[in-house]
């Protein structure tokens, strides 16, 4: 590794779709234009940024981007789920299956819902999304490890409370979509 190499953070949303063994979506660092460093499985890249100019830690790989032409961007929501998943400082451990289903839902939602939800971690390890507007109401969806998502909503105008569950697959139930749109309206 040349001592003069230039290190820059990778672009936000830049994530390899190939299996690189990386756990973080945001901690890729570019070296020049054609190489990146992938963090180790603990994702502790920032701990030794200062030493990069001298030596590359043994547990890191340098990858030529030419080999990874199928890089794709992820939505900020998906990146935030990955961040939450690797955060070991919490008193609750996110359930890995819940993470997968949350990501699956987030990718579908990115195409149809503009209003970004807030991510939450329930004490039972389920990832959840909340859409909330003070004047309209609130909806919370939690992703179970069995692929069943449960949701509950409260609408201010009608003072109506609604709840249900659905199987996370390739689409969003129309009732749920309608509720989210009611809450996100300006």
């Amino acid at each position: 590794m040349p001592a003069t190499a230039s290190y820059q953070p990778a672009l936000s949303g830049f994530r390899p779709s190939a299996n690189t063994g990386a756990t973080s979506a945001r901690d890729y660092w570019c070296i020049g234009k054609d190489k990146i460093i992938v963090p180790n499985l603990n994702g502790h890249m920032r701990d030794f940024i200062g030493s990069f100019h001298h030596a590359l830690p043994e547990d890191h790989k340098v990858i030529n981007l030419e080999s990874y032409r199928n890089f794709q961007t992820e939505s900020p929501l998906v990146l935030e789920i990955y961040d939450l998943a690797k955060d070991t400082s919490q008193d609750v451990v996110p359930n890995s299956d819940s993470i997968s289903y949350a990501v699956k839902f987030a990718k579908i939602a990115a195409e149809t819902i503009k209003f970004q939800p807030i991510i939450d971690l329930h004490p039972d390890g389920e990832i959840s999304f909340t859409w909330r507007r003070a004047k309209n109401g609130i909806i919370n969806i939690a992703f179970g490890k069995d692929g069943i998502a449960t949701y509950a909503a409260f609408l201010v105008d009608s003072e109506q409370s609604l709840k249900s569950r659905f199987k996370v697959n390739g689409s969003i139930p129309s009732t749920l979509l309608h509720l989210i749109h009611q809450i996100e309206k300006a």
Partner: protein
Amino acid sequence: MPVRLPATVSADEKLARVICDSSKPKKHRHKFYYDENDKRYVVQVGTFIDTRNPMELSVNRISTLSSEDAHGLGIAHKNEYQKDSTYHGFAEVIAKLCYDLNCQVKKDDVGGKKPYHANIVYPVGQKEDSQEIAVQLAFRAEFRKYEPAS
């Protein structure tokens, strides 16, 4: 003179749910955050979810306390149960809302050791039944941020 609150939690009592988490803003966003639309801090739905069934949420009855003393109970809770975390404040709800949502609020003062302590007991049900209650409590709760005097 030891403090003794009434055995029944009245509908107009204020209840405080302690919020502890990481000291890093990005991380504690999963407990509470500043809502740009609402122009105030709000708490996450998960604050009112627990793993027990029927769900029991630990709260303090704070109607008779100053803000400082109410936060003092929160800090004591943190020191006892979540030593390595940071105390951020509490989510305040009125007991009437709990009763309206078919919850019970039961005094649980641990034999007088914790005179202000009570539990919000949810009806037995599925996850979405608990969520239904939790979303309304979170939506109506006021977050009382702890800001220690510097």
